[in-house]
């Protein structure tokens, strides 16, 4: 799979403040790429550079192998975190205006708007003013305007803020459908559960520097530390626990099972295989639960940022 977007050693400074420091990224075509990081890490700066709102002081960004140029603007759809619409303008007029600014002809824009308005069941809003709509409704219009010119690259900055769970789901499904149709999506958020659901690849930016990137699965593999959750049916919790901890590193665990079992996390050393552990356990007591602990995106985020800050 080739890369749609490649950033090489991108730096951006505002006066004495470094917003981005030597950032290099590769975003594969057709992927959903999670751009993660704490507030003020430099995500928005990077996104603005891709949108040619600001320009890097150093480094370059290639889109489809070409340096970013004004013509690329039509190939990018951007839904910023700070977003809004003209309050006193009618929905239809406004959507047409924004679509035409992206280079669509009026006729084309109208047809596509019709399609999207029908799809999201918002056709009746055409001649309403934005100030008459709720925040969630306005967000839907914003989403339509972002995707209307069928861009190759879509950038969503906190796309789900302002949506209720039902509408958030609708938008999530639309994003996945766009991906299926070949779009590449950059997805910037703090909501880690949606990262798990949507992202193929992630990059973690902290204090202007990239501290982590790659396929989400690879990163999870990298962050797992051979911990297994086990639950055992036993008469005497204390003696069993003692017996196991004499051989393995054991810690408290919290997960739900149906019965009243002895639960623990067991840390395996590199030399041991999970099968060895399992056969050891089965000799001692019936095993009702045996699962490798996979670090969540949330855990990885916190762990990586904390260790970087130290």
């Amino acid at each position: 799979m080739s890369n749609l977007l490649v950033a090489t050693n991108v730096s951006k400074r505002y006066g004495d403040y470094t917003a981005l420091n030597n950032l290099s990224l590769e975003i594969p075509k057709g992927s959903v790429f999670g751009l993660l990081g704490p507030n003020g890490a430099g995500k928005t700066t990077f996104i603005r550079i891709i949108n040619q709102i600001t320009y890097p002081d150093q480094g370059e960004v290639l889109l489809n192998g070409e340096r970013l140029q004004p013509k690329h603007i039509a190939k990018i759809g951007y839904m910023p975190e700070e977003r809004g619409l003209y309050k006193s303008m009618k929905v239809g007029e406004q959507a047409l205006y924004l679509a035409q600014l992206k280079g669509l002809s009026k006729k084309e824009a109208k047809e596509r708007l019709q399609f999207w308005f029908d799809k999201l069941e918002i056709g009746g809003w055409w001649s309403k003013k934005i100030q008459e709509l709720s925040k969630g409704m306005a967000q839907k219009i914003q989403f339509v305007v972002t995707v209307l010119h069928e861009p190759e690259l879509l950038i969503f900055d906190e796309p789900f803020s302002g949506f209720d769970p039902i509408n958030a789901n609708i938008i999530k499904d639309e994003i996945l459908e766009l991906k299926k149709n070949g779009a590449t999506i950059i997805f910037s958020t703090h909501r880690m559960e949606s990262v798990e659901e949507l992202c193929d690849e992630i990059a973690l930016i902290n204090k202007s520097n990239k501290i982590l990137d790659g396929k989400l699965i690879d990163i999870k593999r990298q962050f797992k530390n051979n911990v297994y959750e086990v639950a055992l049916e036993a008469e005497n919790f204390g003696s069993l626990k003692e017996e196991i901890s004499s051989k393995y590193l054991v810690s408290e665990a919290e997960f739900k099972t149906l019965g009243n079992e002895l639960k623990m996390n067991i840390q395996l050393e590199e030399s041991h295989s999970p099968n060895e552990l399992l056969s050891f356990l089965t000799q001692k007591a019936p095993v009702t639960h045996f699962k490798e602990v996979i670090p969540s995106a949330n855990d990885i985020f916190i762990k990586a940022v904390k260790s970087y800050n130290q």
Binding site: T54, I76, L98, L101
Partner: protein, 434 residues
Amino acid sequence: MKQLKLIIKREYLNKIRNKSFIVMTFLSPLIFIGLISLVAYLSRVNNDDKQIVTVLDQTGRYANQFEDFDSFTFQYLNTSQQFESAKTAVEEQEGYGLLFIPNLPENQLKSKITFYAEDSPSIDLLRYLSKKIEDKTFEDNLKESGVNLSQISETSSNIDIRVENFSGEESSKIAGVLKLVFGGAAGYFLMMFIIIYGNMIMRSVIEEKTNRIIEIIISSVKPIQLMMGKIIGTSLAGITQFVVWLFLGSVLFFTVSIIFHVDLGSVDTPQKAMLENSGAMEAMVQTGFAEIANLPLATLIISFLIYFIGGYLLYSSIYVSIGAAVDSETDTQQFMMPVIMMLMLGVYVGFFTVINNPHGTVATVFSFIPFTSPIVMLMRIPFGVPLWQIILSMVILYITFTGVVWLAAKIYRVGILMYGKKPSYKELYKWLKY
């Protein structure tokens, strides 16, 4: 280019569809004409209300000297009537006042003539009375010393000094006034236009920031395009409004003066009335028209357009960058001050120095400084300014304009994406280097 057109179109339509804009466009001329008609009407009613001034002239020398004047008519009492009874009579009759000339020889009369009135009398009336009495006394004295009056009026001559410039073009005092009116109106108009529509642009920039739509738009177009689109779109809306005002204003003015037979020109000084009587008014109107034709009209119009565009764009780009720098209109004060001061300086320097000496040092210097030159130079041009000065001043204006737009675009680009704090001048300076 296509995007710039789209932006201009949106800004223009958005402005002229705005309800308060429409109301202002159609209501302002109505209010304006209404006020003028009201003032004209009231002053006529005021004049119609005849006021009677009673004259008790015990000397008998000043009888029938006073003619009806403004709203005053004169009634003369018998010379033999006593002062006290005259006073009571006037009081009872509720007359305007009583002019009492006691029976004294002329040389003692000087400070003895008294005007009695309930309220303090009109200054115009007093001036008129004393002038008439002085004239009559003067004439009587001349007669007494045996001077033939008709001889005097024959020998006296009216001298009218003609004014010509060295290339032989005639001009007059009226021309001076006219030139001042032309230049002043142009300069003042420019200032008003800048303030009204500069503010409008600034507000629409702030609106885009508070609506948070700005980032969506500048991910499609360059900030400079958006900025220029806003400036041009708003000025077109402004010009539309002014044209409507001009048109509606003149139509209304015309209709009102026909329907109500109110001579709207009558809101004026008594001097005008006196001129009218002597036929001098007609002559003045004629020379006035001749002088208008004599003005360098082509130069005036062309330079007005050039200065209007240059000056307006210069200031509106400053207004735009102010709008971009702040979050709300209340934060604009500190940045607006210098802008308004510069405009005021232009107008005041124009009005005070150009009147005295259109080609003096101060007027000349300020007609080169780009922030005042559109106003000051426009005021000077009717008086005849060497072409090289006009061209130099325009070149300076347009070079500055380019520079300011460049700086404003930088502030705009950074400012529109800054939320939540009011920047200082120092920070604005830093933005220029981003």
